[in-house]
Amino acid sequence: MTAADAKTAALLDRASGYDYHQGPMTVPQTNPGDFWSIECIDLYKSFGSNRVMNGLNVGIPEGMITVILGPSGTGKSVLLSHLIGLMFPDKGDILVHGESVPRMKQARLLEMRRKFGILFQDGALFGSMNVYDNVAFPLRQHTDMSEEQIKDVVMRRLDEVGLANGAETRSPAELSGGMKKRAGFARALVLEPQIVLFDEPDSGLDPVRTALLCQLIEKVHAENGGTYVVITHDIASARRIGEYIAVLWKGRIVQSGDRDDMFDSPNPFVRQFLAGNPGGPLGME
């Protein structure tokens, strides 16, 4: 652990221990999934003696871009796997649109996953296919659309992410890191998902390319609506696109809320963490 990481860890420990009690949810839902797109309720998950989730609670609001923010190794990817039923909790429940994921039968789980588009860390493109075929893949796999219809959708999505030129000739290996992510984003969108998950979309990108990708995410969200969940350790990205922010530390959410509430948090340690200044006055002791 670097000295900076140690300071962040110390700050987040203090943020978790701060005795500010967040306001109650004043409005219960009439039915599960009324306005939360995803609800994680008291999740526990261990790998052997490594407890990764330790009573994690968070609601992901519909129609907004949510950022789940936490340092590396805090269980962000593990949480993401739980949302789509690739991992199951030891205890607790995950509701997607009000429906319990751990309780789904296999067939329902496969259907449920089609609500999601996922942008994996490296774009997860098939190296043997050109960019066009990569983006067309989910349509060929999951729909009976004609090649003509597929071309329509694929070109629209590639255009949306600024990759329409040369998609049929370029292979993923010829793309820069930022372009790979764009191609992965186009592929995540072709089945018109209601929820789009991004696992560290900013990893491996310099600050300017990260800013551009964030703008693209905002633009595509504005054009399509739905729930976007961005998982990152980058506070700058969270600040840029998070409309709703949840801070993850030691298997729990330290605080979550509307971005204005978060940057204005009564918890001084959360404020200092979001200010990107772990070595500041509060972390010094």
Binding site: H21, Q22, G23, P24, M25, T26, V27, P28, Q29, T30, N31, P32, G33, D34, F35, W36, S37, E39, I41, D42, N57, V58, G59, P61, E62, G63, M64, G98, G162, L163, S176, G178, M179, R182, Q194, V208, R209, A211, L212, Q215, L216, E218, K219, H221, A222, E223, N224, G225, G226, T227, E243, Y244, I253, Q255, S256, G257, D258, D261, M262, S265
Partner: protein, 168 residues
């Protein structure tokens, strides 16, 4: 149709410490005319959205009739008929349609929504707006309307264009 404050199912509630929501409702000091003006601005926004196929088409695919009401005005509100790829704003009085969703807002939230800045799910979660029915269906497409009046920063406007070219 019940409102959200009736018939709460405790089993579906998230534990209270999971959220930073606040219950405070803005003080109501605005004169009536301001309530009316904010409301009419919002109706204009939805009418404009209805005229814009790029926005109306996806909204019109949710197949819901949304009753939109002001909590600060008397009157029955309007219906947003979202059906068959079209979005139509119709007066509730005399309409044959029955709403499937209801969303009721106070003037401060109406003003924010009309300029594309309301985080509507949060407004509901912390009690500044009330709802009934499967409101999530409407929240899902609301960003399209909000972006119409409050577009996100355009690609490349705050970075140098050469780089945009290079990575686009």
């Amino acid at each position: 149709m019940t409102t959200s404050s009736e018939n709460p199912d405790p089993a579906t509630r998230l534990p209270v410490d999971a959220h930073g929501a606040r219950g405070a409702v803005a003080e109501d000091a605005a004169p009536r005319a301001d309530h009316r003006e904010a409301w009419e601005t919002l109706i204009d926004v939805f009418e404009q959205a209805g005229d814009e196929p790029r926005i109306a088409e996806p909204i019109g695919r949710i197949e819901q009739v949304v009753l939109l009401r002001s909590l600060d005005l008397d009157g029955s509100g309007v219906l947003l008929v979202c059906r068959g790829g079209r979005l139509e704003v119709v007066d509730r009085d005399g309409a044959s349609e029955q709403p499937t969703i209801e969303l009721a807002l106070r003037t401060p939230e109406i003003e924010k929504l009309a300029v594309g800045k309301l985080r509507t799910a949060m407004a509901i979660a912390d009690g500044r707006a009330t709802y009934a029915g499967p409101v999530r269906q409407f929240l899902r497409v609301l960003p399209l309307v909000q972006a119409m009046v409050n577009p996100p920063v355009a690609m490349g406007t705050n970075t140098d264009d050469e780089l945009v070219e290079e990575i686009a």
